[in-house]
């Protein structure tokens, strides 16, 4: 599987030169595809339009990875934007109120309100240890109240006894009183499905809301909904100011664009999703999964992620070769520092190394931290390109200038140069060896940040040479220091 991906990547490498930033034409090519993908997933047209416009703005001019097609990178940007719109924060149910907290279920006919009410009751009882009562206000659909009663019995929660000839508002009042008197924590009100253009029925829902003052008004919507999602969401938002959305039938094969439509139109979070007919088939909403499903371009997204990884590997390989040839200059040193930062800085890397807790303390004591790496980066950036290539040029006055330019001290500049020289010297010694071997030796010899050479009271031996095949999950060697996962070798 990875072979074909690698092949594809290689084709792309050879087909493309370096690119700096995404061009408008690249972005538009990709967004045409994305527009179709979103529409085919039933995202509503007005939502598609605003979403695309927003992403376009974000994408044009942004940096592009040299190893993917620019339009592929746009799709990755789209995916990330989708995840963000769908919900960057968790949206728990708000039931912490003075009991009983009322949850009002609303939605079109057949969207899954009753089933969801039952599932919710079970979830709140079993997971949150709440005392839950269910009440059906659905006097329209034949046997709707029986259905809820059976579901309530299965979930082992309270169910408001049915009475004849009551209006939904009357049932709601009775339910609230009963829940108060009997000390229920949560009261879930199931309502009849209604088309939003029926003013009478929407008014009825408003009345129920006014009477019961719900903490949550959940719009229950079918994941298979088409373009009407916008109309429905808007209408329920306007009529009863919904607080959240439950998307049902996500166990089906619908792409589920309604999720995006409704989320965007109402601004309300998708709180839960229904994934089956069983009572426990109610889950938290996962924006990343939903985005992948809607966009259905997982291959491309994965490809770009892979490419981003590959670039790091490539860069590491390039460095290793240069080192082996004794060509390691300040630019390479800089590149190494940056890769280190990308890996989450020193802390991130140390955290990945088992049993290095102690060392972490020593490092901290020695004043080696991420801010130091950033200062070192600043120092190199303040050098001219000539200076970076031939460090010998760095006389006292140049060092002074660099210190001033980088906001550091001459001592720091000196320390960096010394570190660099030590590394370069070592690398020459290793000259005959392969890149990988050089890397391994380097691991024990000098890490940016000054281990051990430049480090006051250096760690004896630096990082244990080979770490037996390198850091777990990072391939042989420290990331950015040329180690690379086996199997990715070209």
């Amino acid at each position: 599987m990875f072979d074909s991906l690698k092949d594809k990547l290689q084709d792309v490498f050879s087909a493309l030169g370096k690119r700096g930033a995404l061009r408008e034409s690249d972005v538009d090519t990709a967004l045409r595809e994305v527009r179709l993908a979103l529409l085919d997933a039933d995202v509503a047209l007005p939502v598609v339009k605003t979403f695309i416009a927003r992403v376009r703005e974000q994408a044009v001019g942004s940096d592009v990875l040299k190893s993917v097609r620019p339009d592929q990178q746009v799709i990755k940007i789209v995916n990330d934007a989708l995840v963000e719109v769908l919900g960057s924060e968790p949206a728990p149910l708000n039931i912490a109120a003075n009991p009983p907290a009322v949850i009002l279920m609303a939605g079109l006919q057949g969207s899954g309100k009753t089933t969801t009410a039952g599932k919710l009751a079970l979830r709140l009882r079993s997971r949150e240890r709440k005392k839950v009562m269910l009440a059906s206000l659905d006097v329209t659909r034949p046997a709707a109240r029986q259905q809820l009663r059976i579901l309530g019995e299965q979930a082992e929660v309270g169910v408001l006894p049915e009475a004849d000839r009551e209006s939904p508002a009357q049932i709601a009042k009775r339910a609230l009183q009963a829940a108060q008197l009997q000390g229920f924590d949560v009261l879930i009100l199931d309502t009849a499905g209604r088309v939003t253009i029926d003013e009478g029925l929407m008014a009825e829902l408003r009345e129920v809301k006014a009477l019961t003052n719900p903490h949550e008004v959940l719009l229950v919507a079918d994941a298979m909904t088409g373009q009407d999602a916008v109309t429905t969401a808007t209408a329920f938002k306007q009529a009863v100011d919904i607080t959240g959305i439950v998307l049902t039938r996500l166990d089906g094969d619908a792409r589920g664009g309604a999720a995006l439509s409704m989320r965007e139109i109402t601004g309300c979070p998708i709180k839960l999703v229904g994934v089956g007919e069983k009572q426990d088939a109610l889950e938290e909403f996962d924006p990343a999964r939903m985005a992948g499903r809607i966009l259905d371009m997982g291959d491309v997204v994965a490809l770009v992620e892979k490419a981003a990884e590959t670039i790091e590997v490539e860069e590491a390989e390039r460095l290793a070769k240069r080192m082996a040839r004794g060509q390691f200059d300040m630019n390479d040193f800089l590149s190494q520092l940056r890769q280190l930062q990308k890996m989450g800085g020193l802390g991130g890397i140390m955290g990945m190394l088992p049993g290095l807790g102690k060392m972490q303390k020593q490092i901290a004591a020695a004043g080696i931290d991420d801010s130091m790496i950033r200062r070192q980066e600043a120092i190199i950036l303040s050098m001219t390109n000539k200076e970076r290539v031939s460090v010998g040029l760095l006389n006292a006055s140049r060092r002074k200038r660099i210190a001033a330019g980088s906001g550091t001290s001459v001592q720091e500049v000196n320390r960096l140069v010394k570190q660099y020289q030590e590394m370069a010297r070592m690398m020459k010694k290793m000259g005959g060896k392969t890149g990988a071997a050089a890397m391994k030796a380097l691991m024990g010899g000098g890490m940016p940040g000054g281990m051990p050479g430049g480090m006051p009271g250096g760690l004896p031996g630096g990082l244990p040479g080979g770490l037996k095949g390198g850091l777990p999950g990072l391939g042989g060697g420290l990331p950015g220091l040329g180690g690379k996962p086996s199997g990715k070798k070209k």
């Binding site: 579901l151 088409g226 373009q227 094969d253 007919e277």
Partner: protein, 307 residues
């Protein structure tokens, strides 16, 4: 309210959308690319899907208009195009007197309107003087049997039901046996809602079909998929899967009294050429109407049907 008014008033939300976007084209002497794009957008907003919308828009673009292109002329051309696609599939559901009983199997995903449609069909055929029997084939969902029984009472129709959790195929078989013995004209079998990608549930449906064919090879004479009018492009996957499993022979689209447009039937007609029998336009027993291509097309395109 007449069915047509009801359908049109239901669909008029759509047509308002389509016409309002078309009205911006008013008075232009020729159709430019952006007008065509507007037509296409309006169609996409009615759930036709991108492909069907593009085809129809292209058709309107190639249409030869006499003189100035008015919004009316454009809507008219659009309605003609839609009618042309739908006319061949608009076929009423008519029980054949020779089949005793004529077996109608209702299938579809959860909540699409199968049980309600069963009740409505019973009502219609009872009113035509036919003897009808309902079979409560949804033995899965809580209170599904009671729901159909209430429809039986409402329409004066006998309901054959077993226990909840029982074997749906056995129940269907039993109902067919009974209907044959009684010489019933039509047997309507309601089934549990199931998502088309759930193979174990689809297998169960296949079993229902297999079992009733043991009694009558021609049964079910109509295997009707009930589609929710708010559904989007997933309808294509639904029809295709149910066709494989239950030899779907036609469709009924429900909930067209709401704000949804049901435009996906156009995509379905193009892809499957299956008869569209009727539309559901409300929750009452009489809220089932034959599917009329011209009216549906006019309503969608915003052409008044009065003429």
């Amino acid at each position: 309210m007449s069915w047509l008014k009801k359908l049109t008033s239901g669909l008029s939300k759509t047509s308002a959308r389509v016409t309002s976007s078309l009205s911006s084209l008013l008075g232009r002497s020729s159709i430019d690319a952006s007008s065509i794009e507007e037509v296409e957008d309006a169609l996409i907003s009615a759930d036709l899907g991108t492909a069907a919308a593009a085809r129809l828009a292209e058709r309107v673009r190639r249409h030869k208009f006499d003189g100035e292109v008015t919004a009316e002329a454009l809507a008219g051309a659009l309605a003609d195009g839609i009618t042309e696609i739908l006319e061949p599939v608009a076929t009423p559901l008519v029980p054949q007197p020779g089949d005793r009983p004529h077996v109608v199997l209702l299938v579809g995903v959860n909540g699409s309107g199968k049980t309600t449609t069963a009740g409505k069909l019973a009502q219609q055929w009872r009113q035509e003087g036919k003897s009808v029997m309902l079979a409560a084939g949804d033995t899965f969902r809580a209170a599904a049997i009671e729901q159909l029984q209430i429809w039986g009472e409402r329409t004066g129709t006998e309901v054959i039901a077993g226990a909840q959790g029982g074997d749906a195929a056995a129940l269907a078989y039993q109902a067919l046996e009974r209907a044959r013995a009684q010489g019933t004209d039509v047997l309507i079998i309601d089934t549990a809602g199931r998502l088309q990608n759930r193979t174990e549930l689809m297998d169960e449906l296949a079993k229902i079909v297999r079992v009733i064919r043991k009694l009558d090879e021609a049964a079910p004479h109509d295997s009707v998929i009930v589609l929710d009018g708010t559904v989007g492009q997933n309808a294509l996957s639904q029809v295709s899967a149910f066709q494989d499993i239950a030899d779907v022979s036609g469709l009924i689209v429900t909930k067209l009294d709401g704000s949804a447009k049901g435009g996906v039937v156009i995509a379905l007609a193009e892809k499957f050429q299956l008869p569209v029998h009727a539309v559901g336009v409300g929750e009452g027993a009489d809220d089932l109407q034959p599917f009329e291509a011209r009216d549906f097309a006019n309503a969608l395109a915003g052409v008044s049907s009065e003429t």
